[in-house]
């Protein structure tokens, strides 16, 4: 699973119809440890800039990330 740092984030309160059921939802840009960036959604607790996150999976073509637990062994 991909890992990285939250570069920026927002919580969306007004969304087009296809996402209306998800509101409010958090969107993030993650700077990936392996290079590049990805716009993704967040699973679980809300994240902030500079939080370490790990990808939890891809659903309906959308990547989801969650906050990485501090005791987890992973890249620096």
């Amino acid at each position: 699973m991909r890992t990285g740092l939250v570069y920026t984030e927002t919580v969306v309160h007004l969304a087009p119809e296809r996402f209306a059921a998800d509101v409010p939802y958090q969107v993030v840009i993650v700077k990936l440890d392996d290079g590049g960036s990805i716009t993704a959604r967040v699973d679980g607790e809300r994240v902030a800039i500079d939080d370490r996150v790990v990808e939890t999976g891809v659903r309906d073509g959308i990547s989801f990330f969650r906050k990485q637990r501090s005791n987890r062994i992973g890249p620096p």
Binding site: T10, V12, H13, L14, A20, D22, I29, T39
Partner: protein, 386 residues
């Protein structure tokens, strides 16, 4: 390349006009500009239309000849330009080159958008089409959310605050309240602006520009012939367009727009001017944070200082660098495809001393910055008196 002048300008009021369709709006603005230029439609040699999403909003396509023929122009080249919210800025740039190159003597540019015929959620969806649909939009990004992410990072990097963002809204509403053509002529307090309902955090309702119908038009002419038509022509001192990635996540630093910096540099070089020579500006405040980033990209303030400068009153009408004396997209309204030319009309009005209660003291050199999407297109135009 030869000098180019604006000899006529005209626009409709911005707002929600259920009885006016896209063509009626465009024709109304076009006729005003022709009248302002003392020109018959037959004198126009080429027609440039700026429009973002007419087909999505209204189902009508092939819009340029659809409008130019209704304005009484037949047989001439008539083409639509699309560059998201910078559509009519891009059309203006092409029109300028048509005259500057010597190919045409007289051309017309119209910008138009008809948006209020669609419900808000559908409008949000259509606007999202100016983002990267395969990545950021697919993940649930809306335009407010893209600028919200820019705001969040700007706050993190430079200490910009919630109150700084709202200071932009308060100032623009104060200006718009004096503009008879503005959509929302309403003064708001800082408390109101800070506590409105959230749209995409940290942005709230008062950080976002409006959903609008409207059109704007200008007539361009070779500068040496301008006085034949107009007693008060305005000179195009510089104009430039630049581009960047559409997806926000492809940009290395989202607190600055490379396309805005690039277009500003080229336009200033053409004009032989620096940021300190610009006396007033119309900047693309699609969201409050966009005005803050724009004033930094244009070099009016140092990186990261835009919010502080705004909160100190630096951009008010009586401040050292008046920004959006028209009310901006925020209060005047933002019919997407009309905005670029509407900003140019606002500069013309100030330079000609026709801005009424909003008239600025220093008004001989003005700059318009028209941004498309989350910075993938930017057009910068500098105008001055003859």
């Amino acid at each position: 390349m030869r000098p180019v002048a604006i000899i006529g300008a005209g626009k409709t009021p911005f707002g929600a006009f259920p009885d006016l369709d896209l063509r009626a709006l465009a024709v109304a603005a076009g006729e005003k500009a022709l009248h302002n230029a003392n020109l018959e439609p037959a004198a126009v040699e080429s027609f440039y239309l700026g429009n973002f999403a007419g087909p999505e909003f209204t189902a009508q396509n092939h819009l340029a000849p659809y409008i130019s023929t209704a304005l009484g122009m037949t047989g001439i080249p008539s083409t639509r330009f699309e560059a998201a919210c910078a559509s009519s800025g891009a059309a203006f740039f092409q029109a300028f080159m048509g005259v500057a190159s010597g190919f045409y003597d007289v051309v017309m540019v119209v910008g138009v958008e008809k948006m209020t015929c669609q419900p808000t959620l559908r409008v949000t969806e259509i606007l999202a089409g100016a983002g990267d649909c395969a990545t950021e939009v697919k993940a649930g990004s809306t335009f407010p959310s893209l600028f919200a992410m820019i705001a969040r990072r700007h706050m993190h990097d430079f200490g910009t605050t919630r109150a700084h963002l709202s200071a932009v809204a308060v100032k623009n509403h104060e200006n718009g309240a004096l503009n008879p053509d503005a959509q929302m002529r309403k003064v708001i307090t800082l408390e109101q602006a800070m506590n409105a309902r959230p749209i995409a955090e940290p942005l709230n309702l008062y950080d976002c520009s409006l959903i609008s119908d409207g059109a704007a038009a200008v007539v361009l002419c070779a500068a040496d012939r301008a006085r034949k038509f107009s007693e008060r022509p305005v000179k195009v001192l510089g104009v430039a367009q630049a581009s960047d990635w559409v997806a926000l996540d492809r940009k290395t630093d989202i607190t600055t727009f490379a396309a805005a910096r690039g277009a500003a540099k080229k336009a200033c070089e053409m004009a032989g001017l620096g940021p300190g020579d610009i006396q007033f500006a119309e900047l693309h405040d699609c969201f409050t944070i966009a005005e803050i980033v724009a004033m930094e990209d244009l070099g009016f303030v140092a990186r990261g200082r835009g919010g502080f400068f705004t909160a100190e009153g630096g951009t008010r009408r009586d401040g050292p660098m008046p920004i959006n004396a028209s009310g901006g997209l925020k209060s005047k309204g933002h019919p997407v495809g009309a905005t670029g030319v509407a900003q140019i009309c606002d500069l013309v009005q100030q330079i000609r001393c026709e801005a009424g209660d909003r008239q600025l003291k220093r008004h001989s050199v003005g700059l318009a910055q028209n941004l498309g999407g989350s910075g993938a297109t930017c057009v910068v135009t500098i105008l001055g008196g003859f």
